[in-house]
Subunit: 380 residues, 4 copies
Amino acid sequence: MAGSVFGTLLTVSTFGESHGAALGAVIDGFPAGMELSAEDIQPYLERRRPGRSAASTERNEPDRVEILSGVFGGRTTGAPIAMVIRSTAQRSGDYADLAECYRPGHADYGYDAKYGIRDYRGGGRSSGRETVSRVAAGAVAAKLLKSCGIEVFAWVTGIGEERLNSDQMERIRNALISGEGAEHYLRLRDSLPTGIPDEETSRRALELIGRMREEGDSVGSSIECIITGVPAGIGDPVFNKLDAKLAGAVMSVGAVKSVSFGDGLSAMTARGSEFNDPFTVREGTVIPETNRAGGILGGISTGREIILDLSVKPTPSIFRPQKTVSSRGEETTLTIRGRHDPVIAPRAAVVAECMCALSLADSMMINMTSRAEYFTKFYG
Amino acid sequence: MAGSVFGTLLTVSTFGESHGAALGAVIDGFPAGMELSAEDIQPYLERRRPGRSAASTERNEPDRVEILSGVFGGRTTGAPIAMVIRSTAQRSGDYADLAECYRPGHADYGYDAKYGIRDYRGGGRSSGRETVSRVAAGAVAAKLLKSCGIEVFAWVTGIGEERLNSDQMERIRNALISGEGAEHYLRLRDSLPTGIPDEETSRRALELIGRMREEGDSVGSSIECIITGVPAGIGDPVFNKLDAKLAGAVMSVGAVKSVSFGDGLSAMTARGSEFNDPFTVREGTVIPETNRAGGILGGISTGREIILDLSVKPTPSIFRPQKTVSSRGEETTLTIRGRHDPVIAPRAAVVAECMCALSLADSMMINMTSRAEYFTKFYG
Amino acid sequence: MAGSVFGTLLTVSTFGESHGAALGAVIDGFPAGMELSAEDIQPYLERRRPGRSAASTERNEPDRVEILSGVFGGRTTGAPIAMVIRSTAQRSGDYADLAECYRPGHADYGYDAKYGIRDYRGGGRSSGRETVSRVAAGAVAAKLLKSCGIEVFAWVTGIGEERLNSDQMERIRNALISGEGAEHYLRLRDSLPTGIPDEETSRRALELIGRMREEGDSVGSSIECIITGVPAGIGDPVFNKLDAKLAGAVMSVGAVKSVSFGDGLSAMTARGSEFNDPFTVREGTVIPETNRAGGILGGISTGREIILDLSVKPTPSIFRPQKTVSSRGEETTLTIRGRHDPVIAPRAAVVAECMCALSLADSMMINMTSRAEYFTKFYG
Amino acid sequence: MAGSVFGTLLTVSTFGESHGAALGAVIDGFPAGMELSAEDIQPYLERRRPGRSAASTERNEPDRVEILSGVFGGRTTGAPIAMVIRSTAQRSGDYADLAECYRPGHADYGYDAKYGIRDYRGGGRSSGRETVSRVAAGAVAAKLLKSCGIEVFAWVTGIGEERLNSDQMERIRNALISGEGAEHYLRLRDSLPTGIPDEETSRRALELIGRMREEGDSVGSSIECIITGVPAGIGDPVFNKLDAKLAGAVMSVGAVKSVSFGDGLSAMTARGSEFNDPFTVREGTVIPETNRAGGILGGISTGREIILDLSVKPTPSIFRPQKTVSSRGEETTLTIRGRHDPVIAPRAAVVAECMCALSLADSMMINMTSRAEYFTKFYG
């Protein structure tokens, strides 16, 4: 396969380019019998939508999903679920000069080197717009997870130097895990244009974004994903460790440049005596008392919430003259025009969330076959 | 598949537990005609071997690889290459009490939750010893890459607070990339017990390790991998981005808790105008002038060296009493005995190196089919 | 994965139900740079189209394919090629009573047993209409093969007792292999309503079909596929033998009940001294002098044309009262109404052809990585 | 992957050449907790063993399997199960002249064309000896199936013109399905040197084999597999139909040249009114009254026994002079020496049985995730 198919049992095949006729996803292996309609998917697309605010480009495409197959009488049938999002505004003209040269920070040159041909309209397949397919598919997986009390939450933890501090982070995490106050933070996340669930930090970040826009520049950002309700025992040893799969899943989102689990970054300087999470018994269940591991040990979930943190690079499309090379191999200067968000995380958070949902659902389906007794009981 | 098979075209299937009869790997899809013998693999196993020094456990197993198949007349035949490393010292007795309770920081509880049965001898399949299979397989992939001038180097960048500074890092990178002075640093890496290619930092780190050992504690560490010689155009868009695959590959190594590419961590606070690498032309080839991206843009290699950094958690097996829970669900205190390195990176670096080699070789093989003209020329 | 994704490097993901909004396919891993438009696909869909003649149902859907992605400036880009065929006539009413009981010879009961829910409109996902996606995808693969002089031909060899005899078969094969007279037979195949490339046999078969239609009955049929121009060396040993993959590919077409290669059926009574094909040298190339093996030995192509024969069961939808069971578990009698061809091969031949093309193209792409020297030369 | 890995969830990776150090298999994804020891596997290897009788070569290797991993305390652990069969007699000398020329009916030329290098000792990887790995793996899968009352039986139905007639076939099938008399036929199968469970037919076949041996010739044969106890609902639609997977699985066994399901061969001339199996209710369960379909409709099991028939070509290694070509491209005459059975089915039957077991177990594991209610119940 060449990169646009994801998953082992629950597979997603995506398609579409930035300025093509349509984008979409085909989910194969999705269990039958779950209620599903476009209404389940639309809110996720809405969270990814451009033009929500000053933090986003103004290109206001509706991104309406159509389910073409796999649902009958309002329920999934086990057949592939094909979803299409038609493109409404295909203004290829804006991008004509991109045919001529390689944008710094973009995949243009790599695509040409690999394929010898490139759909240069808005980045083609390498555009962030590609993620609309992932969000559509992820929304379906997220619904399956929710049926078992599992929720994936992603939010923006900082934009440039405007960042949530560790106390704020802890408060948000605790609210999402316990459920108490979760509504409050999610409402902030979804209503504030930055996706940072704190009014003051968000306000400052928005100012920073405004400055970036004025200066024709862009700024990096960061995202945290937290997955609650995952039972212990999920994930496969060795190569398909739950964290390995999640890491691969989120690193496949365009601008993500790093991923860490739990207190993963500080692990490199920590002592074992402080980093190990002691086990305890809570309500009759074994569980780590603390969660520095981020919910996964040896690639298998511990029963604690899974926490991963991503750094996201600044939007590579900036409006200042940049040194680059033309496709004829001549050095040149490029000044990008058009509409581009100066920051990526506000729209990418839901994409990371959806990749986690797809990856986890796949691991959980595989896990249903982990014991001979399950097999014997199922067929006995 | 359930976790112990890696790769798409170049697949590796590994097996073996810490205290089982043998560990090994079967490589399928390896190209025919490459010279291969155990001598190519043995040095890699040597780098991973315990008991090299004060930094490592004393359990001194020789780890000799036997190639069972896939090689004829000294060359690979295209048939699966099976490699077996027989275990010599199987002292299950040392671990008998681990049957009874869950070690903090280990996968014990997760395995029980998942499988309902657990090979508790030294961690069984979840032991770091499992990685011997990956190293054997990775050595074979590394040889293929070397035939095209591609080298993967991994080294330890820090142990606890004893870390290489950014100048030292830059100097090592430049030496490895240019080749000038590379020998020197690699000799340091391979001769110093810490794997840190700097005498002074290594000496201080070794002192720290000594203190940890005395205190019955352990300490975290970090690794850098650099891959030189990769042509532009490698990696597949969307889910199988080169960085996504590499991230999944290295995160699948037991104690790795984070991965970042290039200046990935600082990306979250950077400006686009400083983070974008301008393109230039060098010896007739388009190439990024700087390499903040770490050699990959949009999931496809840029022609610059690929750089990834890993944080590694402290060895979870420490010799202090730890609060935990027994497999009967009762809270208890565990004091681990036996031999365990107080730090993981010195032996894990070669494992990360091997996972990078396997992942990259797979992507490069897939890439050979990326254009219709290649197909037509091959068969025309 | 759950069944609707095909291939290793060249993957096809299909979707759609008989009476859903649309059917389609997403091809991932297709090489970049090949000219492609809907015009390449439409003639294949035409050959599969119902209503061509007395041999087919009258349901005259146009089946127009739309390429949604993966093509830019008239060439493939390496990105997924999504193709959609919108359904025009969705008369669900005709099939309402099928919700209530299990049609003999159909997958209705199996689907209910498996999924607990069933899209009963015209068989839903298990309808022969599903194959329109395969034909669209196969047409694209066939074009790639043709660029190297490889052609896949499928034709109907018999309907019920009206069958081509072995002399006729031999004559057709020789024409297709040599090219001399190929046009003639292909014109007959495509113009005669039975798909049998012989006027007299076709006429008799058509009479038989007419009788079947009158009697409310149906009749079995058979198909031969011949693939010319395949170089020696294609196919992977052991599980992915070229014949094993082709067999799985064609057996996945609904009504196909058997597959044999070369003189495969008579092999069971043959002597080795007569069944072995001697090798000879022709125009400087080693080649089997005869072709009882059907072009494949040990799973690898020999350089001779590949020949496979399929038996196809009678259309299970007949218009006589049939004993069956309702979905409530009560025995009942069902009389199917609607439009159904009394024979399947005339429309299935192109489907078999397309499955062969997809399977072979995948094996050929994998084969490009079979030698270390190819790798070294590609990247050296 | 390049051919030596089988399965989706339950994967088998095999390795080894005819005259290499060892052959073996690694099963990944096998459920934890099943009792397993070499004793479960050894009887299967025994059935495949050469030298059982006049029907087989005298090369009397013991073929003892060693389980290297994945079993602890007598039970599977969910970790990969590695099995090795060491080769005892490696007389490469016998085969030295095969390096020089291509044996008709063998894969020699194809391997050279593909890989440019060939382990010519006894056919290397393309030898029938490779199947010992499949049998070891299949025995493990068969044990899992048996735990749910599912049995796979394969037996020889004919050798050359000495064949069981349809009455005899029916009697054997009925005995195996009902269990009444099954012991009798299985004892005949396992004790008679031909594997034909009928004394008289076996006696005549043995005479034929004797004549072949005298004449330096060989003869074709045939095998039937019947799988009893499979519940309705197994198999995945479209490409992974249960019959498509089984067909691919058995066609991957070296000398198999055709496969048909149920009355698959006669389907091509049958009428729908006679070929459709009416549904009925038996002990409260819907079931096809007859079984012309061979237990599968639309790729999904019907609840009836699955029946498949294979034709097997004559042993290509015959002892008469054969026209062929040398590896230098010169026409020559080859007279094969050594020990070769004049017929393949007696030893291949258990291989087909094992491939069916592996394929079915994989489909059944996947099927456990087919409904959302299973998921919710498992995790709820």
